[in-house]
Structures are given as C-alpha cells and as structure tokens.
C-alpha cells in the first residue's frame, strides 16, 4: 500500500517535471520556428506547430539587409564580450589573490571598500557613470563600452573566497624554490585554479553578451550598437519585419547556447561556489 503510494508520487513528479520542461523549452522553439518561417506564417490566424515551409534564406536575408547593421552589432558584441571577460579575469583574479594571500595592514579596509559596491546595484549608477564616460569623450566608443565594466566586485569576491580555501602546500614549495609572489602566482597558482577561472569567465561572458542598459546608454551611434541594442531597436520600432527579427534573435542566442552547453558544469560550480551563503 505504502509502496504503491510512493510509486504513484514518483510517477506524478516525473510527469510534472516533463510538462514543466516542455513549457521551459517552448520559447526556444518559438525563436527557431518564427526565425525560419515566412512572415505570413508568423502572422497567420491559423496557428500551426510547424511553419508551412522552412526558410533558411531568412539568415542570408538578415545579413544582406542594408538597413540593419546586424553583422556590425554581432562583431561589437563579440569584441566587447571577449575583452570584458579577459580583462575581468586578469584584474579580478589578481585582486582576489592579493586580498586572500598577501598579508597587509589595510587589506580588510580595501576588501570592505570592494564589497561595499555590491550594496549599490550597478544599474543605479548608470546615470553617474554616463556622466563620467561622456565627460571622458567615450560615448559610442568600444572603450566606453568595455573599460567601465571591467571591475565587477562579485568576480573579485569569488576569486578571494576561492584563494582563501586554496591549499598552502603549493605556495610553500614555491617559496622554498625562491619564487616571489608574482612568479608563484603565474607559474603555480593560476595553472591549479583553472575551474574558478572557467566559472567566473563564463558568467562574465554571459553577462557581457546579454547586457542591455549600459550598451543602450553608451552605444548611441549605430556603429557602436551591440546585438541586444540592435534587437531592441527593431522590437520597439514601429515597422518590423517579424521573420527577420526572430532570425536575428535566434542568431544572437546561438553563440551563448554553445558556450553554455560546453561550460555548463563550470557555471554550476561557479554559482555554487560564489560564496553567497
């Protein structure tokens, strides 16, 4: 009797999970379906599960459309995401290591100053940051889009937590060998800390690729648009070619899905390890 109940509960849970999983996948399916359909299929009053005809030509049409600087915005997004990721990994990992491992009188004060910026949501500072960047003359430049985003306190925090729990033995051996902090860091610590670099790197990359408010504020010129700004501009404009919009969105998600599927294990590890409890 009890066994039957338990088994029924288990089956119910599985069915519920499958239904929810399908619901979660629907938006991805819609992206693909609408992106590869003709516009009249998207707006057809009779909803069909599959478009009547799959049009791979939509992709070519998107890149050929001269009114849409889509290729340029993809390139901008790629440059920004790669530069932001590399820059953040370099600066934040050095800072995290210094805070965790180099004894210094004022280390705690510096750490609290870094942590304090987590309390002010980044989005609240967009007006002041815009003021600063515009006074530097960096509006609509890659510099303006990249440099101010290179200092996320959360990345420094994750690296610090990770290095605090890093075994001392390796560094002790390096010290015996007469390596200073600098060479110890590059030759011993970094090669043994690859998981945390991968985790923080993927999280920063996803964030940089998907960022919207900052690129919207800074990338005012068409040539400085990122993929997200370009998509948003088409969505909120009056005249829209729906199939082109959807294929653009699908193309913009594709690189991230690849990164995501390759690095999922690291993201999960990174999220779990981000020391939020």
């Amino acid at each position: 009797m009890d066994d039957a109940l338990v088994r029924a509960g288990r089956a119910l849970r599985l069915v519920l999970l499958i239904v929810l999983a399908l619901l979660f996948l629907i938006p991805f399916y819609l992206l693909l379906r609408n992106g590869l359909a003709a516009e009249r299929d998207i707006t057809s009053p009779a909803w069909t599960f599959f478009p009547r005809q799959v049009r791979w030509g939509n992709v070519r049409e998107l890149f050929a459309d001269p009114s849409v600087p889509f290729a340029r915005s993809l390139l901008n997004s790629a440059l920004i995401a790669v530069a932001t990721t590399l820059g953040t990994l370099l600066l934040a990992s050095l800072a995290g290591y210094g805070l965790a491992r180099i004894p210094y009188r004022h280390a705690n004060k510096v750490f609290h100053a870094v942590l304090g910026t987590l309390l002010v949501p980044a989005a609240v500072t967009f007006v002041p940051s815009f003021v600063l960047v515009s006074s530097l003359g960096w509006i609509s430049t890659l510099r303006g889009l990249i440099v101010p985003t290179l200092f996320p306190a959360f990345a420094c925090f994750v690296f610090r937590q990770y290095f605090l729990g890093f075994p001392h033995e390796l560094e002790d051996a390096a010290e015996v060998d007469g390596l200073g902090y600098w060479r110890t860091y590059w030759l011993v610590v970094v090669p043994n800390a690859r998981p945390v670099f991968a985790a923080v790197g993927t999280i920063v990359f996803l964030g940089a690729w998907n960022a919207f408010l900052w690129p919207l504020v800074i990338g005012q010129d068409q040539n400085a648009w990122t993929v997200q700004v370009a998509l948003s501009t088409f969505t909120t404009a009056q005249v829209v070619r729906l199939h082109e919009l959807f294929v653009a969105a699908a193309v913009s998600v594709l690189p991230l899905l690849l990164v995501f599927l390759c690095f999922q294990r690291w993201i999960v590890a990174g999220v779990e390890r981000s020391g939020i409890d």
Partner: protein
C-alpha cells in the same frame, strides 16, 4: 620579501581597486554633486540650485508612481520566484533518472537575454492579436483574444512581465537551492525516519527548510536586489516608437527617460539616482538585519 609585502599587495590589488574607485565611487560622488545643480545637457553645470532637484523629484507623481510600481513588482516577483525555484529544486533533487537533463533544461534560459525573451513574449506568446500563442490557446476554450500588454485595466501586463522573469531566472535560483540541498547531512533524514516522520510535508518543514535557511536568505536578498535593477524587460515589453506608456514604469526606466531622454536633465536624473540608491541601501540593510534575526530565532 616580507619588507615588500605592501608593495606587492598593491601590485596585485591596485589596478582593480583603482578601476573600481574610478568607475564606481567617482561617478557616485559626481552624481551627488550634480544633483544640487541645474544640469541640462551638461556634466559641468554652473547654476547651483540647492535641494530643488530633490524636492522636484519627491513631488513628481510619475517618479513616486515608479517607486510604487517597483514595490508591487517586488511583492509579486520575490515570493513567486522563491516558491517556483525551490519547488523545482526539490523535484529535480529527488528525481532518479535524467536529473542532469532536467537541471539543464530549467537552467538553459539563463543563457538568454531579457531582450530576446521580451521579443518572444511580446511578439509571439503574448501578442495582443488573435495569432499570438496565448490567445490561440484561449481560443481553443472559446475565449476572445486579450490585449495582454496594451490594456492597463485589468493589468494583464503584469502576467507578461512576471512570467518573462520567472522563465529567465527560476533555473538560476534552482541551482542555488540544489547546492543547498546537497549540503544537508543525510543522517538528519535517517534520524527523522527512525523517529517515524513520514517523508513529505513534515520532513520538508522540520528538516529541509530550516537547513536551507542560509541559502534562502541569500536567494531573497539577490531577488530583491535584482528586482531593483529591473529595466530590460519593462523597456523592451512596453515601450515602442511612441514612447513608454504611463503604467508599469519602474524607477530605472523613469530615470532613463529623465536623464537621457529628450530633456537630458542630468541634475534631476542624478537626484533620482541618489534617492533610489538610498532606498535600495535602506531596504537591503533592513532586510539583511531581518533575515539574520530570523536565523537566530530558528537556532534558539
């Protein structure tokens, strides 16, 4: 080597600390300064106006409305996301087969941007016309189409806004809860079974939830902070070529139009940003206190 420690500390930490100071602290201070000036279209104003910007903002119904919108949004999204992501984690944690598959599917939307999600929601699922997915499903049951985003009464747009965020974020918080569940000592469950507690509600209430308290506190804190950052989905779902409708406008959208819209009133925008930052700080600190209070209550 010891003598040079301070120097090495700054070699490692200096660049990051300098950047953080330059791109977070300097803008904040500059913004506070600007909020006391009449600054239209300029970042180096000359006309000092004292607290005028602040009184103007605090008397501005649109700004106060935006704060109210934020409160309503938070009151919706925090408990709903909390409940959904915890339920997902509990189910995924106990499923035997294909656990990795379910975890991936629920986490996958985290790779999507708000812009793309808002596009799918606005143009395909909840488009106000008959061929939208939601209206098609309603049609099967004989109901007429609903203008999901365009009608403030009844406020169907909340359903659209809340479901976008749920889809994008539930999986992320589910991962946090899964990590918390992994850390619970199995011996606790065995002890409960010996004491005759039946698996299910009793165990959940007396073992799982108390053990998840630290994770829960962190999740609630993140949810509230993220609700304050709400901009992307509101902007992309509701604004169009004609501008933004007066309803469902969170503070950041309002500040965006104030500071960077046609008027470029940076003084007013800065005053709004300072007010918002103060509200955020008060809520965050208050909430952290309250959550820690809950923790000692539970332990005692």
């Amino acid at each position: 080597m010891r003598r040079w420690r301070a120097l090495w500390f700054w070699v490692f930490v200096g660049p990051f600390a300098l950047g953080l100071a330059l791109f977070t602290y300097v803008p904040l201070l500059w913004s506070v300064a600007l909020s006391f000036f009449d600054a239209h279209n300029t970042v180096t104003p000359t006309h000092f106006t004292g607290l005028d910007n602040y009184t103007a903002m605090l008397r501005d119904h649109a700004f106060l409305d935006s704060l109210r919108t934020f409160l309503v949004f938070t009151a919706f999204i925090v408990p709903v996301t909390y409940g959904c992501s915890l339920s997902l984690a509990l189910m995924v944690n106990r499923v035997r087969r294909a656990r990795a598959f379910f975890r991936s599917v629920f986490f996958l939307p985290a790779a999507c941007s708000y812009v793309v999600a808002a596009l799918v929601w606005k143009m395909s699922v909840f488009s106000g016309v008959r061929f939208g997915l939601a209206n098609t499903v309603l049609g099967w049951f004989g109901a007429g189409p609903v203008a999901w985003l365009a009608s403030p009464d009844p406020p169907w747009y909340w359903l659209v806004i809340v479901t976008v965020r749920l889809w994008l974020q539930a999986g992320f918080y589910m991962i946090l809860f899964l990590a918390g569940l992994q850390r619970i000592d199995p011996a606790l469950y065995e002890a409960a079974a010996v004491d005759g507690a039946r698996p299910g509600w009793t165990v959940l209430r007396h073992i799982t939830l108390p053990q998840l308290r630290a994770t829960s506190a962190a999740v609630v804190l993140l949810l509230v902070v993220n609700a304050f950052q709400a901009f992307d989905e509101f902007y992309n779902l509701l604004s169009d070529a004609r501008g933004y409708p007066p309803y469902a406008r969170p503070p950041l959208v309002y500040l965006y139009y104030t500071a960077l819209g046609q008027g470029q009133n940076l003084g007013l925008g800065s005053a709004g940003a300072v007010i918002l930052a103060l509200v955020v700080a008060v809520v965050t600190v208050g909430q952290a206190r309250w959550l820690r209070l809950g923790r000692t209550d539970g332990d005692g």
